[in-house]
Symmetry: C3
Subunit: 155 residues, 3 copies
């Protein structure tokens, strides 16, 4: 077991573990929000989900799209598109021996940017709030990718 | 090489490797199912995919959505939304030195829940089968996230 | 820090780090392409995104789907569906002590196949270009999964 816990003894790796878990939990929250909006807006995607509302036409009218539900789903997909690169590149970055303070700066900006992005998407805030928070997370990921390729390029 | 194989000598990490690979292979199966339903239902998304069916209007009628294809695609997206958090949090959890039996319990419930979820979505089974299998995987991931943050919180 | 940099001293792991970063950067490029097509085609998904085009009906007509935008988005989603398994299974494969040359072969084919897939999707090239490039990446991932399960099966 010693070898394994060694990885999590490293502070930069601990920081990665903390922030990766936080952004993944934030992303998982989007599922609950989707469920919440589907139920309050009565807008479902599957016939079996509306069976309790009655049979035939009564239930069928709830098989529809709703602007709020679609908004949460777009936010969720945007999370996937941006958090997956962070997970992969961030892990390799944490293993590339970065300065702890630099690593923390990267992880904190990314996590903060994604939380802001979610608020900007769901409230919604006027643009360019959502655009800028997306760009901040994007730039941080590129910066980590640069460090990974500088440390470990092997084509 | 020694250092590397050490990671996979750890039984909790081996268990993670096994179940992560299994759920990813299960998720990849959704791509094949999508292809299968697109071909049998003749419902495609791209003009170049229907070019072999003829030219012009003959081919164009196959550029449509189909209920079965959309169902598989929703299942695939739900997999992505839930398996990505499992991959990231599960990896950190496996590195946090969990009891082997506890780790196995988490991984087995997650993998079982996702397989059930797929059957519940594709057959489809009446609700709340799909909802409960989704919730089981979700709860397991939250439980692992709690252990990770307890072991390695570094904000 | 020593333990950490050890991981990235291993050449197969370095190769994984390099190719994982490359395919993730390629996937991130899809976001920029989506933004580019949304702006040039004037096709947006959110009311707040078209607020600068004016008020009311003037702006509303830009809340629409566009064939080019949807094509990039399908390519992006296909990337997610295929690169997520590569990230997870590839990491475990790199840790399973593969021959360096075999590992490089797997990673290079996967990265090449995904780049080809993107060109085939966006130009678009006639089928089966896109189908074959997708299948090549899929087959490589299955091959790595087999090696992982052979090395570390622990059910």
């Amino acid at each position: 077991m010693a070898k394994l816990t060694k990885l999590l003894d490293n502070e930069a790796f601990q920081a990665y573990a903390t922030y990766a878990t936080i952004v993944l939990l934030k992303m998982m929250l989007m599922s609950l929000l989707t469920v919440y909006f589907r139920i309050t807006r009565k807008a479902f995607a599957n016939p079996e989900d509306v069976a309790t509302f009655g049979r035939g036409e009564t239930a069928k009218k709830y098989l529809r799209t709703d602007a709020d539900v679609e908004r949460v789903r777009r936010g969720h997909l945007n999370d996937l598109e941006n958090i997956v690169p962070f997970l992969g590149i961030g892990l390799l970055y944490a293993l590339s021996g970065p300065e702890l303070s630099t690593a923390l700066l990267h992880f904190r900006i990314f996590a903060g940017a994604r939380v802001l992005h979610t608020f900007a998407y769901l409230i919604p805030l006027p643009q360019p709030s959502r655009g800028l928070s997306w760009a901040a997370g994007y730039a941080v990921t590129i910066s980590m990718a640069y460090k990974v390729l500088k440390t470990a390029l092997y084509l």
